[in-house]
Symmetry: C2
Subunit: 230 residues, 2 copies
Amino acid sequence: MSRVLGVLGGMGPAATVAFLARVQALTPAQGDADHIRVVMDMNPQVPDRNTRPGEAEAELGAMARRLRAAGAQVLAMPCNTAHAQKAGIEAVGLPFLDMIEITVAAARPYRPGRVGILATPGGEALYSAALTTQGITPMTVQGADREAFMACVYGVKRGDVGTANRGAMARLARSLADAGAEVIIAGCTEVPLLLAAPEVRVPLVDSAEVLARACVAACLRMDPPNAERD
Amino acid sequence: MSRVLGVLGGMGPAATVAFLARVQALTPAQGDADHIRVVMDMNPQVPDRNTRPGEAEAELGAMARRLRAAGAQVLAMPCNTAHAQKAGIEAVGLPFLDMIEITVAAARPYRPGRVGILATPGGEALYSAALTTQGITPMTVQGADREAFMACVYGVKRGDVGTANRGAMARLARSLADAGAEVIIAGCTEVPLLLAAPEVRVPLVDSAEVLARACVAACLRMDPPNAERD
């Protein structure tokens, strides 16, 4: 029997559904029973992670406790930005697959000197710190491009995954590659709803894909990422 | 604040994810916070509903209790077949949106004399009984077509939503219409992963779509389907 995955979702809702679909697609299954059991709290009303970080941390902790009570054995949160408040989740004591940590680990085999980050300001800060610790130079979108990035993300949250929004995200990825990024991290779970790896001429490390793979591995015990065996 | 939706899912997993996406698509939202909070237990290991109905009913009841503990205020289960064991869920005392009942209600405005059913044998029995009570003649797939239908469903459960599988489902829908069905009920949540309304020349009433609409209405209190106002 595989382990039960607990998902702290809803930040945003479309990204969470795309993440669930990816977990399924990555699970070797010939029928229903081969799939991983997932308990989820898709909570689009988590307090704002930028303006009310303390309340957000408390709410994420409460969600994690409820997921544990519902049977979760491994926790994951398909939202990079909210990882700034991960302490509330980790306090619950279940293995928590840290999306920032495993995404940076997934970028390392490319041995990049400079890595471009497509993320919200909060996610960017987390990735910049994690990359710098590894001796990798983070590159970020600036000025008007920062505003264009957030417009793309809020577009997805409104339901816009159309051609114009996709084109805008592809342009931002290109500008990071043109500026010298050797790898680009899709460090916001809305990014893969607009951008696919073949659209970028340098490797694209998609945090949602990396997290989904880690969830499948942890729940099927294909390897023990940062979780103890039981 | 909208009501919290509790989803008993995993039967099958792909149908559950498609259902969640549909709930989102039907929710009027300009941003994350406008979406409905969803707590879900996607449990692909519910005991077989055909061979172990008593155990299945007990497990569905346990899932419903855990969802209530996690905050659910309205319950829904995007699997028609498992509605034969709905007593376990209803015993928990939350409003439960009965997919069979609301789908038959959604077919009634067409005033059909004969309704074709695309469902598993278990789902077919539930729909046949519900239609007959309304004075509507149920029409079902028979013989080799019955086996072809189940092959389509198990294909989806293996991840096959390709052209051949889609074509097979469209053929079954056509054969029901050719035999005189005035409306077709997609009475299995795997069906809409293979078949869209424009592919059928008579109205297609999709149980997953009907349930998603009812969930949005119940949680946003746009109207009170079979749930009391609180």
